[in-house]
Symmetry: C2
DNA sequence: CGATTTGTACGTTCACATTTT
DNA sequence: AAAAATGTGAACGTACAAATC
């Protein structure tokens, strides 16, 4: 290859290698990271082939490979044999939904908050708990004896989701995110790969990046994760497991068909993958198909988060874990939490077995439905996907907007929404869409105000 | 080297390599792990030199090296240039202090539980919180505004420990273990090394093993971590940070001298290490030296756990984090927890600023002192180390017992203690000692019963 | 369909630094 | 104090397989 070709077809990235700071691969990885973070390399950019870079810098091919691998495990790059290496779209998105000091005036339709119908029954229940004679146990370490009936309550909750499990398989975590992080940390080692939707829950992305776990977007024709695509990733992408949200997928809102559930379960069993099934939105729906866990019970960690179903302040999720992973995940939860609050664990169990639970769910749904009807009125149902009782929507935008651009403009006009870039995985192109949280605005009025702003933006 | 030497001086480990299952280094690492876990390779065993194994198996030196590295990052091995590779003593110790189903009859002197003096004031405070008009906020996601004064309470608490910090530097975690795990996950990458006491808190060991972080025991003449040894590890062991417990170190009970604190702070600054200072037992003591964080504020993550000081059920710890790590650790906490319970965060802050806090501390100390006097009566102070108001002791055993053997025998006689093997790091030889939890037995009477058993074992 | 492009990862070589003898 | 033993880790060479053309 003539050396001059560097001049003729300029490489998209021409690192200057200071041979002084060793090792080379680290220096390179560092420069790559800086160039991405500081905007000199834009998301979606195709990097030069490894061989070309090696040639250019006069180092070995493997040295480039190693440098790229470092960046890839941080979620900065995404490479495919044959097609090359691309800067991830989510490399710089500030996916952390922290926003320590967000202006008060913003109408919140970004973060998903449930409404507060459950708070009064929770308060009342807790008050009576504190008046019991043996209240002391709520403030110590939880004792194994107490958790038995709490686990039965978890079993009961999961039965509603079609998950057949039993007391011995139940573990507690400090919320669904905590469960996900624990499952990832225990089931994967550094460098492992797992398959996920091409747009997925941002908390999974950041946790995986922190742990050096690579996310492989399962590419499907439609939004819905298809069994064929899973099979493909299984055979070609060396994935060890799957993470999925079969009910009201976050953010795309699809609910997986029964056939796909069964097919994916079969694939998972045939290839001995693990599956993390996030059931956060299961009980939000009025009627539901059985969880995938029902079809691949020996391979599925089912996570029943309670923040969205009952109240976020509980900081509790239930896990149903197959025997072969039980010890591993129990240890991970211990490493991360030691234990959960016995007070909150008891409160949660009590509300679940109480007759107020159904009522809470019904009230949640009623509020969500009313708000969704309001949304339908402004944005329609065709380009604004979502279930009638769902608590977020997926608004597809006209060509002229990217999701992130729309987010920016909306924020400038006082409405917080989350653009597609926050959810996108790897080198997938971010969808021209934004996610709208249905129940987060304080009142239906403020929701409507937000909708007016969005509608206007779409009509402009 | 004559081939026959394999016969004459049998190698301590003769793996049989099935060349069918590739890659070689994984196959080897797998076999090594199995041989350790199934007891065919005992803790403390010196493995053959890498070159010898490479020769024996007819593979390249680096292939062995790579296999060993895998095992080392899981905490199974510990290698030193010049002296060889040893099976870690803690490779198989069931360090997880879970014990789901422990017989009721055991007198618990293993796990460290604080006494329950704080439970009534906590109950009362929480009841009044639930009666307030805006009780609803305890069940939602915590809102930034609320946490401001809670952070001020944290600052106030830390000031007592000599840590000068401010609101902006405070983060909340779901307990000290949660804080440690978050700090490790954010400050270290896979393969990084950190220095720790040669016997240390088991929760750190298991978290580090899960994250692939290597623990380097800081070898010192005495039990106390010495600045010289830190400096040595710094120069020769390529450590990125330190974890230490300067007040009433767990399990060895030493409290670090002022000179050592200053010296270590200087080293940390000079070599730009990070330091995780575990302040769990700081407020247990009546008088205390300033935290090391006071001397290296830009490098120290100070963790103030509240389980031992107030109550375990709060599941809360405060972190004071220097600016340069703030974002990183905030993100890690988000990845692992999203947030802490606003109810428990508020309760904790209120008890700290209330006038009952001092009283709780005083009552804790009183109980601990009384129990320690009881222990002194049976076991003396010479071989049973610990502070007068400490909540655990370190009992040095006569030669004929190993710590783990003593633990076994004591358990058979109805007393749970924790042997040195549970705490030992890397290839250090486990101390002939056991840790005794002072306040864990339900009553002073049952403590005394336990002491009678232990005393008898020592006198036999 | 076959050739080419492209990333992957294992095994290898080697220089080096420390510890032990 | 010199020599031998020993582990470390970067860089390299290479076979391979998938994607693309």
């Amino acid at each position: 290859m003539p050396v001059n070709s560097f001049e003729d077809y300029p490489m998209t990235w021409k690192p200057v290698l200071n041979r002084a700071d060793k090792p080379i691969y680290r220096a390179l990885a560092g420069q790559l990271e800086r160039d991405i973070r500081e905007g000199r390399l834009l998301p979606g950019t195709k990097l030069p082939p490894q061989r070309e870079l090696a040639d250019f810098l006069d180092v070995n091919l493997s040295t480039i490979s190693k440098a790229f691998k470092v960046a890839e495990l941080k979620g900065l790059l995404s490479a495919t044999v044959g097609s090359g290496t691309y800067v991830s779209f989510d490399a710089i998105s500030n996916a952390y939904l922290l926003e320590e000091q967000k202006p008060e005036s913003l109408i919140e339709m970004g973060a998903i908050l449930p409404d507060s119908v459950s708070y009064r029954p929770l308060r009342d229940l807790m008050q009576s708990m504190l008046q019991e004679d043996d209240y002391a146990k709520w403030f110590g370490y939880s004792r194994p004896g107490d958790s038995l009936w709490q686990k039965d309550a978890a079993v009961r909750l999961m039965k509603r989701a079609g998950v057949r499990t039993s007391r011995e398989h139940i573990l507690f975590s400090a919320g669904a995110q905590n469960a996900i992080a624990s499952a990832l940390a225990s089931l994967c080692r550094h460098g492992d790969r797992i398959g996920v939707d091409h747009h997925t829950y941002p908390g999974l992305k950041t946790a995986a990046a922190m742990l050096g776990i690579q996310l492989v977007p399962i590419r499907s024709e439609t939004d819905e994760m298809s069994p064929e695509a899973v099979l493909y990733a299984c055979k070609n992408e060396n994935i060890k497991g799957l993470y999925l949200i079969p009910d009201c997928q976050n953010p795309m809102t699809y609910t997986m068909s029964l056939e796909s559930r069964r097919a994916i379960a079969r694939i998972v069993q045939a290839h001995d993958l693990f599956m993390i099934e996030d059931g956060t939105y299961h009980l939000i729906g009025e009627t539901r198909l059985p969880a995938i866990a029902a079809y691949a019970p020996e391979h599925t960690i089912y996570i029943a988060g309670l923040s969205k179903v009952i109240a976020p302040g509980l900081r509790l999720a239930y896990l149903s874990v197959p025997l072969k992973f039980l010890d591993l995940i129990r240890k991970a939860l211990y490493n991360i939490n030691i234990s959960v609050s016995p007070l909150l664990a008891e409160l949660t169990a009590r509300i679940i077995v109480s007759n107020q639970f159904e009522q809470v769910l019904a009230l949640h749904r009623e509020e969500a439905k009313a708000r969704n009807r309001l949304i339908d009125r402004y944005l329609g149902r065709e380009n604004c996907l979502g279930e009638p009782e769902g608590i977020f929507r997926w608004l597809r935008l006209p060509e002229r907007y990217t999701g992130d651009r729309f987010e920016q403009i909306a924020a400038a006009q006082g409405v917080q929404v989350y653009g597609g870039g926050r959810f996108v995985v790897g080198s997938t192109a971010p969808a021209n869409a934004v996610r709208l949280a249905v129940c987060s605005p304080e009142s239906r009025e403020s929701l409507e105000q937000g909708l007016i702003v969005l509608k206007k933006m779409l009509d402009e």
